[in-house]
Amino acid sequence: MVLTGSFCEQPPLGLIKSIEMAGCYVVDDDFQLCQSWLLDDVPAGGNPLEELSKAFLHRSAQTASKYDDRKEDKGRHLLHQVKTRGAEGVIFAAASFCDPALLERPMLQEILARHKIPYTAFKFAENTGQMAPIREQAGTFADSIKLWSAA
């Protein structure tokens, strides 16, 4: 699975554990977005402020909090993750009320559907210990992929 949810930081450990316990290997994710923002090293030569600005503008990760100038670019990064990591599905786990993750989600889901990539989605509350529903949903999702792909 690719686990995506516009995670500013690391989500509760319980969330990650629950998903794995439910039978999903998380092969890629978007945890700690701020840390993975820049895609490569910022050139050390030249004007540092300019180089840093250019890096942020032109060589930064595609995330929900940014505007995609072209419609065709939407979901490019997610598809790339799925294809290159050999994932069989995507789990959307957004924190409650997280506008970037929740507003982006329907667009990404539509793109995944077009590419016939299965997905499931739920919200989690950052301070809750109630992981049982998440375990159930993730588990059912994993099972459904096993069952239906075997067919």
Binding site: A64, K71, C98, D99, L102, L103, P106, E110
Partner: protein, 434 residues
């Protein structure tokens, strides 16, 4: 108590009727645009470049106002649920879901007339991230050409020249060319100037109207009434002569009320005795708009100033569109919308209103689905209380989702708040011996 004919159940004034005409006519224009060979644009109220769009003969849609129209007509509930079934989260902005839900039902607008999909989305990103995603969603689903205008947030509480230049450059290099391309009309800056001259007149009159609330008693309600007054200027009519006329008529009506020492006209009738004067922060609830207003009316409460009536432009602190520098002026207009102001600016505005409009207190209507307004409202509340020494109250509802309006709870909190103010007043008159 009715000021108009007795057979009308809800009390209305001439300006109100004029405004309704304007709105209906616009819906009709949008419905027939394609047949007349015109294109349709869509943009947001904060940062709406109406004069610019008129230069390209667009029939103009503002999806937010469609959402609130649907809300007031009690159609939004179903639209929101349709959108949620289509995969949109319960947590997100209900304007967005109402619009997407409406579009799922086909190309029909709030009045029942056709509402074709827009030919261009002018995505003016003026402080509200959700709005940016809104047009991404519409673009994705309905394949509408989109041009994005990035208005920098006033993080430092002021507009610096670089910010203005950035917006003007985008207008010149991206926005105008895109509008030309879609509409087929060449940009004429003089035409823009003419529209702006018209806008200024309307802006003057609007401000004059809003500021009558400084009187005791206030002849207007600066929240419930004001959302009607800002309608034309915040939407498809700024720069249009009919709108200017509307504001002239409105101003005359309001000034007449002021001269007679009358209170505002409400759907329940004229407010006879002004008991409480409030400043309100936050958008109103549209699905129970009249019930909500009645709660104030029943207590003799008038809103003298509000921040939501500045969401589409702040005109009462001096800004006017400037035909001499049209593009810079458009930039300044966008940069100055309430949603693009930082917290200190918002707090300053509220404190200024509390003082200049002699308010008894602040009321915050916190909208469940609107992070743009809600984030930080408790901070605003505490800070305003501290600075003004006046009490503040906090109620919760939503824009257009009827499930999140609990009349009983809101009434309970409002009544407690008004009684609190009343108690404070009488305690400074009596000294209680305990």
């Amino acid at each position: 108590m009715s000021t108009v004919t007795a057979k009308k159940q809800v009390v209305k004034e001439d300006a109100m009727l004029l405004q309704k005409e304007l709105i209906n006519r616009n819906y009709h224009e949008v419905a027939t645009a394609h047949n007349e060979g015109r294109k349709i644009s869509a943009t947001f109220v904060p940062g709406n470049l109406n004069e610019l769009l008129m230069c390209f003969d667009f029939a103009r849609r503002l999806p937010e106002t469609d959402a609130l129209q649907n809300g007031m007509r009690k159609k939004s509930g179903k639209m929101i649920m349709d959108a949620e079934r289509d995969g949109h989260s319960e947590d997100v902005c209900t304007y967005v879901k109402t619009d997407l839900g409406m579009m799922l039902q086909g190309e029909v607008g709030p009045t029942g007339e056709p509402m074709p999909h827009p030919d261009i989305l002018l995505l003016s990103y003026t402080g509200c991230f959700t709005f940016m995603k809104w047009f991404e969603l519409v673009r994705q689903k309905y394949d509408c050409p989109t041009v994005m205008l990035h208005v920098p947030y006033q993080g430092d509480g002021r507009i610096n020249p670089a910010m203005r230049r950035y917006v003007v450059d985008q207008l010149k290099q991206k926005v105008i060319p895109a509008l030309e391309s879609v509409s087929g009309v060449k940009f004429d800056i003089d035409r823009l100037r003419e529209y702006m001259k018209e806008s200024v007149k309307a802006e003057e009159d609007l401000v004059a109207v809003l500021q009558t609330a400084k009187q005791r008693p206030s002849p207007i309600d600066g929240y419930f009434g004001a959302v009607y007054y800002i309608g034309p200027i915040f939407t498809a009519f700024r720069g249009v002569p009919e709108a200017t006329r509307y504001y002239q008529v409105l101003k005359e009506e309001v000034f007449e009320r002021m001269r007679s020492g009358k209170g505002p006209v409400t759907p329940e009738g004229e407010l006879a005795e002004e008991k409480y004067r409030l400043v309100v922060e936050g958008p109103p609830n549209w699905t129970s708009f009249r019930d909500f207003w009645k709660m104030f009316y029943d207590e003799g409460a008038v809103v003298v100033a509000s921040t939501y009536s500045k969401v589409g432009g702040v005109y009462d602190f001096g800004f006017r569109h400037d035909p001499e520098h049209p593009l810079e002026s458009l930039a300044d207009y966008c940069l100055g919308c309430y949603t693009n102001l930082n917290f200190p600016q918002r707090i300053d505005m509220i404190c200024r209103y509390m003082d200049e409009y002699q308010a008894d207190g602040l009321l915050i209507n916190s909208i469940k689905s609107c992070n743009s307004f809600s984030a930080g409202q408790l901070l605003i509340l505490r800070e305003v209380e501290k600075r003004t020494g006046k009490p503040a109250a906090f109620i919760e509802s939503d824009l257009v989702d009827p499930r999140y309006f609990s009349g009983a709870n809101i009434k309970n909190r409002l009544e407690s708040y008004f009684q609190m103010i009343k108690q404070k007043r009488s305690s400074s008159e009596n000294v209680h011996r305990h």
